[in-house]
């Protein structure tokens, strides 16, 4: 199992019965593979779907039915389609239980930066700002460090923010970290990963509980 699948599998355990969730592009998309129909979970897609299903093969692809990343999907029984104003009314009014997003940086206070690297990466804002600012829980799924091995969990974000103080939990290839009352608390370790490895690859200070940490 790839590290992305491991992150997605662990992230899926955060979803409770009947939750309304949104899955961002990248690792979050994989989470749908770990959900069961009997869990009563409803997936929102910002291009206008409640009750989104899974990615489909070419033979089943409908030219009018994609997710927010452009991938052809199907829908669950009881799904609804709507326009972009309705879709974001749902987001901004706080109806999403969880949004899963990627990140470039997360700060010790739960600030999120994931939309721009000035002068380098400027794809635009998309729906990320509204999702990050207004979902009841924001869970970041990401690699613990960037391509060059630099920590992405930092004392303060250097990149322009997506939203301030919005992140509740980080699930990386190394650890599960909760943002709890303005501090970062190590909750779980990935299989085969030590506390010292997580600490050495995290630039922000990390609270380590005295108890033995579960693995995922």
């Amino acid at each position: 199992m790839s590290y992305k699948e491991k992150i997605a599998r662990r992230a899926a355990r955060e979803i409770e019965y009947g939750n309304l969730i949104n899955l961002g592009i990248g690792i979050p998309t994989l989470i749908s593979g770990y959900l069961n129909p009997e869990d009563g979970i409803c997936i929102h897609s910002e291009n206008g779907i409640l009750g989104m299903g899974r990615a489909v093969q070419l033979a089943e692809a409908d030219r009018n039915l994609i997710d927010a990343g452009g991938v052809y999907v199907d829908v669950e029984s009881g799904a609804a389609f709507f326009d972009s104003a309705v879709s974001f009314a749902l987001i901004r009014s706080g109806r999403l239980d969880i949004t899963f997003l990627g990140a470039l940086e997360v700060s010790a206070q739960g600030d999120l930066a994931n939309w721009i690297i000035p002068g380098k990466l400027t794809p635009g804002i998309g729906g990320g700002m509204e999702l990050a600012q207004k979902a009841k829980r924001v869970i970041v799924t990401m690699t613990h460090t960037d391509r060059n091995g630099n920590p992405k969990i930092v004392p303060n974000c250097l990149l322009p923010l997506t939203a301030r103080g919005c992140v509740n939990m980080i699930i990386s290839d190394l650890a599960v970290i909760a943002v709890d009352s303005g501090r970062l608390v190590l909750r779980e370790l990935a299989e085969g990963v030590s506390v010292s490895e997580v600490v050495s690859k995290t630039a922000a200070s990390l609270h380590i509980p005295d108890t033995e940490l579960p693995t995922f």
């Binding site: 592009i25 897609s45 910002e46 291009n47 206008g48 779907i49 990615a55 489909v56 093969q57 070419l58 692809a61 409908d62 030219r63 009018n64 039915l65 994609i66 927010a68 452009g70 991938v71 052809y72 389609f81 709507f82 326009d83 972009s84 104003a85 879709s87 974001f88 009314a89 987001i91 901004r92 400027t122 794809p123 635009g124 804002i125 998309g126 729906g127 990320g128 700002m129 509204e130 600012q133 207004k134 322009p160 923010l161 997506t162 939203a163 301030r164």
Partner: protein
């Protein structure tokens, strides 16, 4: 009710260089590819385009941008279009970004006869820069002006001759909002039916917002499933 059905050339003859044009669609679904081709052929340039994304290189509004017919794009996301990102970085096209739902709401406000909306989205970010901030009930809000266009280009699954519209699945997206927010609304419809054939309950956009309906007939290859987006 009068018939609004006309051919592509007649409909596109209303566009002028320098106008602001809204274009429906989120990715491919709902993108009026045929009207965009008509605009390319028609020759208007120096356009400001409003769309939530820039399609992909060689497709949809990217063809207008690549042909240097566009001065500015008002948009939420360019992520799938490296061609336009490159043009933006070389300052060959001006890009104005908004959070996607705020772009939708600015357009809805324009269509609803409002002057502006107030929002806290982005209040702690760089998008606050150069925007008017007001305080209401002890909370800060950004003033986002309503957005209108000279022309909106809309894709519908079905239209009747009076311009009542029905959209399909995720091709709805920005289409019903833009169909209310322009001085002239041009619709391409996959199927045109007689007045009275659509159930009044089923109509997404009432015909009063629509000026011209172009029937598509057989769909071009632009509308096909994009194989590189199938997992």
């Amino acid at each position: 009710m009068i018939s609004k059905v006309c051919d592509l050339t007649t409909a596109m003859a209303h566009l002028r260089s320098g106008q602001t044009v809204m274009v429906g669609g989120f990715g491919s679904p709902g993108t009026p590819f045929t009207l965009i081709e008509g605009l390319l052929a028609q020759g208007a340039n120096n356009l400001d385009l409003v769309k939530t994304d820039a399609n992909e290189g060689g497709m949809g509004i990217s063809r207008l941008i690549e042909a240097k017919r566009v001065k500015k794009i008002i948009i939420s996301h360019l992520g799938l279009n490296s061609v336009v990102i490159g043009m933006k970085n070389r300052q060959e096209v001006e890009v104005e970004f908004y959070p996607q739902g705020i772009l939708a709401e600015k357009i809805r406000a324009g269509g609803a006869g409002l002057i502006a909306i107030l929002t806290d989205i982005g209040i702690d970010t760089i998008i606050r820069e150069n925007k008017q901030v007001v305080e209401l009930d002890g909370r800060e809000a950004l003033v986002e002006l309503a957005l209108r266009a000279d022309v909106a280009l809309i894709h519908a699954a079905i239209a009747d001759r009076a311009g009542n519209l029905v959209y399909a699945k995720t091709s709805q997206n920005f289409n019903p909002l833009m169909a209310m927010a322009a001085d002239r609304v041009i619709v391409e419809a996959e199927r045109v039916v007689e007045i009275g054939e659509l159930s009044p309950d089923a109509i997404h956009t009432p015909g009063a917002f629509v000026d011209h309906v172009v029937e598509l007939g057989t769909l071009s290859s632009a509308y096909e499933v994009l194989k590189h987006h199938v997992l």
